[in-house]
């Protein structure tokens, strides 16, 4: 019988397990293969051979549309590898296809908010996998609070609308209301292939094509589902605290 509970000793012995991202780069242990976008390791010329392997048509002879890619890995046998950057979030839909120079000098949308972001998660028709990945940010390993990122229960208290899922007809109006309810300045982050371009559900009945048709999207986080590090990167992009080289 010790006076100090055993978990105190255990915790001290184990040390801090929380990820050091974004202060340090994400380790491979923290990011599964699908957390990185597929890239043609042999150069763009090899893409043509892989076009037919992609079930969602994300690969064309010229480029890969990361916004559509569902990370199914079928193209890995055709010369592509999940070897892209973990910092895969982009500020425009076009960047998901043709990675331009990532920094074009425009200030981040929520630059004024610096160290505190309040996030309202809205599910407009997801398969739930994205929800789990996003909510993992609140657990002790990713611990988004250490970066000043908090989840709220009402859009009235939030700066950021974090949207998961492909917009279903029934959620169009609630989504619009949530966007209305956000105080200024506000931003919208589309998380996963679903809100970016319909994902695996693209073209289904009762669905909208993409989130961008309904509300202005500030940051796109590709993946199906993206890993928590991808989402964290997307959120940090909003205030310019992300790990991209070159600064704002």
């Amino acid at each position: 019988m010790s006076v100090v509970p055993s978990w105190v000793g255990q915790s001290i012995a184990r040390g801090i397990l929380t990820t050091r991202y974004p202060r340090e780069p994400a380790t491979d242990a923290e990011v599964p293969a699908t957390g990185r976008p597929p890239v043609p390791v042999g150069g763009p010329a090899t893409l043509a051979a892989a076009v037919r392997s992609c079930p969602v048509g994300a690969i064309s002879e010229a480029a890969i549309d990361q916004g559509i890619c569902i990370r199914c890995a079928r193209c890995r046998t055709h010369g592509l590898e999940f070897a892209g950057s973990v910092e895969s979030a982009t500020r425009s839909r076009g960047d998901l296809v043709e990675p331009s120079a990532r920094r074009d000098g425009t200030p981040p949308p929520l630059a004024s908010l610096k160290r505190s972001l309040h996030v309202f998660l809205i599910d407009v028709g997801s398969c739930n996998a994205c929800n789990l990945e996003v909510l993992a940010l609140a657990n002790p390993f990713y611990d988004s609070q250490r970066l000043g990122i908090f989840f709220t229960n009402s859009p009235r208290h939030a700066d950021v609308l974090l949207v998961v899922g492909v917009p279903t007809d029934a959620m169009v109006e609630p989504l619009r209301r949530a966007y209305e309810a956000l105080p200024e300045p506000k931003a919208v982050v589309a998380v996963g292939a679903c809100p970016i371009g319909g994902g695996v559900f693209a073209g289904g009945p009762g669905l909208k094509g993409s989130l961008a048709e309904l509300v202005p999207v500030d940051v796109f986080v590709p993946g199906c589902p993206p890993t928590p590090v991808n989402v964290l990167d997307g959120l940090l992009t909003l205030t310019g605290r992300d790990r991209r080289p070159g600064g704002t």
């Binding site: 009402s154 029934a170 109006e173 609630p174 209301r177 105080p183």
Partner: protein
């Protein structure tokens, strides 16, 4: 007999006279009841201010003097009951649209008999009033719309419990008569019979108060048969009040209670409070929910009374008096709030044609705003929101419970601890229940289409009851002072009301528990609220000038046209259904929608899935009934099968036994 005495006699006679007047026209009956209630109200105030009122007197059939009188104790109950009746009788004028006058007759008889039993000076007259009350209220419950088997069986349960109660009260009265040698209300000396009297009285009166484990008698007839709303209000607010009166009267006649009496009452009270709150939370019925809340409130009266008795035995006069004040104030607060709530249920029945919170959904368009103000006050008060009556009473009961640490021996302390936890837990649960009632009857989006959204004449009495709730709450310190004669009559000694002042609050504006233990000032709360509101309004006005962006309030994204997708009342309390599954015996029931033939087996089958909760005590009583029926059937087929030969044999045997007995005795 002075003027007040004449008014008292006229009031009681007038309440009974409502019955024959109803034969002329139901409205005439209700009007008579309204006026007579007003008289009773006036004379009750006179009795509290100027001392006991003596009314009509005569010599009873058993040679004892019988009379109508209001002393401090009965004046309080007459006051509380007549306050309720003024509202319910006035309400009935518009509410009762039945072609037959039966409801009006039973209604008047119930009121008259309650007035009689409260104002009788003799225990025999009390018993007469008690039994008339039971029968007349049984008649009221029978008048539910749609006389199904359900109505009959539910009202039969009420009658059965009622008669059991009369029987036990009879035992208590007989015991008192043996102890004192008279039917007049004189304190009895302690004796072994006192225990019998107490136990019989506690169960007998507890049956009428609907406390655990007899709460079936309270919710079943009201909820299952959907008794008429004016009847429900009278049953829940004043019939249970009659039970409380009986208990108070009985205890005032037994002045030296042993410790365990208080402990038993505290225990029963705490269990009732918890069960009542729990079942109220999971009830979807606009009458079932308030009926369960009645159980909770009567439990609180018992808790306060139990604390008072323990404090007296333990030699804590301060706590004794404070707990008594708490018990009386709780009775008053419950009476006014529950009246408003049941009248609201009647209004909703008229306006939307349903008792189901799920299908009500919210306030129907074009409905009466005054009625909703009353509902709002009632639910807020029952949820113990400052500065309403229910808040003050709940605070007083909890304050009394907090001081149970002074009790001896330790097991009573421990009981006080557990009861305190139960009462606090119940306070949280009842908040959920009341928010549910409020939300799904007047705040959220309507689902029902209005039958007659105006329901003229129903709004005013509800709003008046609502105003009474606010008044009783805000003026609590003065009301407590006003109740001093009542508590003195119970305690048999002069008492001082637990009011005082602190800081810059004037003396007499605050309620003080202990010496001093806790303190609140109900009249200051609305002043502070108003000041806060002023700041908020001022800020808002300024903000508007600065040009704020105006958006619709966020309501979880709900949109018109998606009513069916919104939260239901059932969903609101499902968390509690699951969390408290072991107490509620929650189970899932599936009913397949439509039938599926073999050929269609490939198509998906749809189910209606529902969560059912069970009242464990009902299971117990059902078992008891089955046992009784089993015994009866054995008697029927085995002992009394209708064969002449066997009967002759019985007669022969009995005759022989008697002959042998007489012969051996001679």
């Amino acid at each position: 007999m002075d003027a007040a005495g004449i008014v008292l006699s006229a009031a009681v006679a007038g309440l009974f006279a409502g019955a024959p007047m109803s034969l002329l026209h139901r409205r005439a009956g209700y009007a008579t009841a309204t006026v007579a209630s007003g008289l009773l109200f006036a004379v009750a105030i006179v009795a509290l201010v100027a001392g006991p009122v003596q009314g009509l007197g005569w010599s009873g059939p058993l040679g004892d003097p019988e009379s109508l009188r209001l002393d401090g104790l009965s004046a309080f109950f007459a006051l509380a009951a007549s306050t309720v009746w003024i509202a319910t009788s006035f309400y009935s004028l518009a509410y009762d649209d039945r072609p037959s006058p039966l409801l009006a007759i039973c209604y008047s008889l119930t009121l008259g008999s309650i007035a009689l039993l409260v104002s009788s000076s003799s225990l025999v007259l009390f018993l007469v009033g008690w039994e008339t009350m039971t029968l007349a209220s049984y008649g009221m419950i029978l008048q539910a719309h749609g006389r199904s088997g359900r109505v009959f069986s539910a009202s039969f349960v009420f009658l059965a419990f009622g008669e059991a109660s009369t029987l036990l009260v009879f035992v208590a009265v007989a015991g008192l008569r043996v102890m004192t040698g008279t039917f007049a209300e004189v304190p009895a000396a302690a004796g072994s019979l006192a225990t019998v009297v107490f136990v019989a009285g506690l169960i007998g009166f507890g049956l009428k108060m609907g406390v655990a484990p007899f709460h079936m008698s309270e919710w079943l007839p009201i909820a299952h048969s959907s008794a008429p709303s004016n009847a429900s209000a009278v049953l829940s607010s004043t019939l249970t009040l009659a039970g409380a009166y009986g208990l108070f009267r009985l205890l005032s006649l037994l002045p030296s209670p042993p410790l365990w009496w208080g402990a038993v009452m505290l225990g029963i009270g705490a269990v009732s409070v918890l069960l009542g709150a729990l079942f109220a939370t999971v009830s979807e019925h606009t009458k079932g929910l308030p009926a369960y809340s009645t159980i909770e409130n009567n439990g609180l009266i018992l808790v306060a009374l139990g604390i008072a008795l323990i404090a007296r035995t333990d030699g804590l006069p301060g706590l004794y008096v404070f707990a008594l004040f708490a018990a009386f104030y709780q009775a008053l607060a419950h009476a006014v709030a529950k009246t408003a709530l049941f009248l609201s249920a009647g209004y909703l029945e008229h306006a939307a044609g349903t008792f189901d919170l799920n299908s009500l959904g919210g306030r129907t368009r074009g409905s009466d705003r005054t009625a909703y103000l009353g509902t709002l006050a009632a639910t807020l008060s029952l949820a113990a929101t400052p500065p309403l009556a229910g808040f003050v009473s709940e605070w007083m009961v909890l304050e009394a419970l907090f001081q149970s640490y002074r009790f001896h021996p330790e097991w009573v302390q421990f009981e006080g601890l557990l009861s305190g936890a139960a009462v606090a837990l119940a306070a949280g649960l009842i908040l959920v229940a009341m928010v549910k009632f409020m939300g799904f009857s007047l705040l959220w989006r309507p689902r029902a289409t209005a039958a007659d959204p105006r329901a003229p004449g129903l709004g005013a009495p509800i709003a008046a009851a609502g105003a009474a709730i606010v008044g009783v709450g805000v003026a609590a310190p003065w009301i407590l002072k006003f109740l001093t004669p009542t508590v003195a009559a119970f305690a048999g000694a002069p008492v001082v009301a637990p009011v005082g002042g602190l800081l810059s609050v004037p003396d007499g504006w605050s309620i003080v528990s202990g010496s001093p233990f806790g303190i609140i000032s109900p009249p200051v709360i609305p002043i502070a609220l108003a000041a806060g509101a002023l700041v908020a309004v001022g800020y808002y006005a300024l903000g508007r000038r600065r040009g704020a962006r105006r958006v619709a309030p966020w309501m979880a994204g709900s949109v018109p046209g998606l009513e069916r997708e919104t939260y239901t009342s059932f969903g609101y309390s499902t968390g509690i259904r699951i969390m408290m599954g072991s107490l509620l015996q929650t189970r899932e029931v599936r009913a397949q929608v439509g039938s599926v033939t073999r050929a269609e087996l490939a198509t998906p089958v749809s189910y209606n899935v529902d969560l059912e909760v069970l009242d464990v005590f009902k299971v117990f009583y059902d078992g008891l009934i089955r046992f009784g029926e089993g015994v009866a059937s054995v008697l029927k087929t085995g002992v009394m099968p209708g064969r002449l030969g066997r009967y002759l044999a019985y007669i022969l045997i009995v005759t022989l036994v008697v002959v042998i007995y007489v012969a051996s005795a001679a």
